[in-house]
Symmetry: C2
Subunit: 219 residues, 2 copies
DNA sequence: CAAACCATTGGATGAGCGTTCAATCAGGAA
DNA sequence: TTCCTGATTGAACGCTCATCCAATGGTTTG
């Protein structure tokens, strides 16, 4: 855990430079997400990104080689954030398969993840993904890893409870339902609170795995 | 049901003109969908649409007032196709609430609907919808109508079988899961056959409503 | 303090695109 | 056949945008 010699001094100048640079990159990625959420992918311009970041017009091409690279890095940031979130949740969930499965699903509704801004960006990329292999690769890897972890939880839980269920079909359905809730969040501007989505997910868990989950309270 | 005098003659010249015009419009809308599916929304140009339709560059602005209008009409076409599909399915399903619910869900997997081309277009629009009120309105209306019909089926089925389920949560989940399957179809280029999605949906039906649906065969 | 370096600016450039429109073409009417 | 209406073409226009770059300002180094 000890820092290497070259990075030992916390306030070393070279360090501050690097930190500042990293912060700027993040500011630009954040501005990119805001712009996509506000204007849509196809109307996002580098000028708008720079404006939202409060910086000058030419700045993006200094920090990122091109617009395409900026977009790819933005997507990569989102994928990494999501990956870390479910891994953290899994670590915190302990060893009970039921709690592990629930933890993996509930990650989708964490405030940091379940924001209209970020969901808008995910959907913008999905809309473009087919034609841009670089984006598709990032999406696919994120999806594959998450699905594999989800599959593992589901398989264990089905064995554990001797449920008569096809694990792949169940896993696929749980994965799909959270993506569908994201879409609701994106297109349905009013109503459904986070709690409603959590409740629907809990209900689904209790319905598929009644020995491990109890039905949430009803109105 | 009788045609009005002015449209009575099947091969009247004025009719042929109108028919040809309508056919051209459809060709252009189809080319638009192909272009969006191939290149993504943000890289779709009118030149590409015209090329795909095998027509000249300026043609789109003759049939549609602007690029925006062409896109809006494309979306409207998809929404209308979907609406008609589930209404037809509902009419054919008879009066049994269980069969009506299943029919409404299976519409999502009809070949005409569940094609990568069309799903790519849906997702492209969802990615842009937030920033374009005209698109959002079409999407919302389509969603609202479908959800209302779905809700009605679910409510009836829950009453009918005296299930202890929150109808809104159930309806929301079934709606979400099909949208999620669409996303799988879009981003996951290989594997899952239509039959797998149908099986997962049937499994979900059987799990929520065991008195009305039996678990599909297992491997 | 001076010198060197690096981040940052904002205007210039050129490509690509939507839109327009005058010219051309085809098919039905007379 | 000839005329006429409306469909279709494709080149031209003007605008927006990504990219580039020479000049500037600020900060670290010696």
């Amino acid at each position: 855990m000890a820092a290497s010699p070259s990075t030992a001094a916390p306030a070393a100048p070279a360090n501050r430079r690097e930190e500042a640079k990293e912060r700027r990159r993040m500011e630009l990625i954040d501005a990119t997400m805001r712009s996509i959420a506000k204007r849509g992918f196809s109307e996002t311009t580098l000028a708008d990104v720079a404006d939202l970041a409060g910086l000058s017009r030419g700045i993006v091409n200094f920090y990122f080689k091109s617009k395409d690279v900026l977009f790819a890095e933005t997507l990569r940031f989102l994928a990494e954030e999501f990956r870390q979130a479910w891994r953290r949740a899994l670590a915190k969930a302990g060893s009970d398969p039921a709690q592990r499965l629930r933890a993996m699903l509930m990650v989708n509704f964490e405030p940091r993840i379940f924001s209209r801004k970020k969901i808008a960006v995910w959907y913008a990329f999905w809309g473009e993904a087919k034609s841009r292999p670089a984006y598709l690769a990032v999406c696919e890897e994120k999806d594959r890893e998450y699905r594999e972890a989800l599959d593992a939880c589901v398989v264990l839980l089905i064995e554990n409870g001797r449920y008569n269920l096809d694990p792949l079909a169940v896993s696929r359905s749980f994965d799909a339902v959270t993506d569908g809730f994201w879409l609701d969040r994106l297109t349905d501007p009013q109503c459904p609170q986070v709690e409603d989505f959590v409740a629907a997910t809990d209900l689904m868990l209790a319905t598929y795995f009644p020995k491990h989950f109890s039905t949430p309270g009803r109105a």
